[in-house]
Symmetry: C2
Subunit: 84 residues, 2 copies
DNA sequence: AAATCATTTCGATATTTGTCGAAATATAAA
DNA sequence: TTTATATTTCGACAAATATCGAAATGATTT
């Protein structure tokens, strides 16, 4: 839970999730959407993966990232419990 | 949005929300639940209030904090949109 | 095999953040 | 009007974090 909220606590990481909602993308394509260096994006992707918010699959020299919504359900459950 | 996720990115602050779910409490009573100093809890409460996750009302020398769930809806909306 | 491309790792740095004790503020009680 | 109680503000510090350029790794192409 801790690591999920940590992963969500960054505008770039949240935007990455929104981008991946549309379609899976390579690390490079994701990086092109932002004004920060590739190492930085790589680090953000690593945090998102640690939180299981994204998953990655190697395709040749590319790494394709995709959104993983199963953890989103857990957060929503926690939030819903706050309202009950 | 940024400040809400920042506020949620701390185990103590999340536990404060869970405690306030049961009943409104004074700053001191909240502080007694944790192993950190009162200034620290006061700071956490300040962040939660900035995010509008709690509201505070002064009652004599006490300050009573209460949970505010309206912002929770916004987070859930953002999360739900991720799944659609 | 050498050169190129995609991605990550490394080392360093500036900023943010959680925490503390002491001091300040505000209300209540004696 | 002192004294006590509740809470916040202040100043400082250590740990965590986002970012960068350079180097390393892994895969493709020539």
């Amino acid at each position: 839970m801790n690591i999920v909220f940590k992963a969500l606590n960054d505008p770039i990481r949240r935007e990455i999730l929104e981008i991946l909602k549309e379609r899976d993308m390579t690390a490079g394509d994701i990086s092109d959407r932002f004004d920060v260096g590739k190492p930085t994006i790589s680090h953000h992707l690593d945090l998102l993966r640690q939180a299981h918010l994204v998953s990655s699959a190697k395709d040749g020299q590319f790494v394709i990232y995709s959104l993983n919504t199963t953890v989103v359900d857990e957060i929503m459950k926690w939030l819903l419990d706050l309202k009950k």
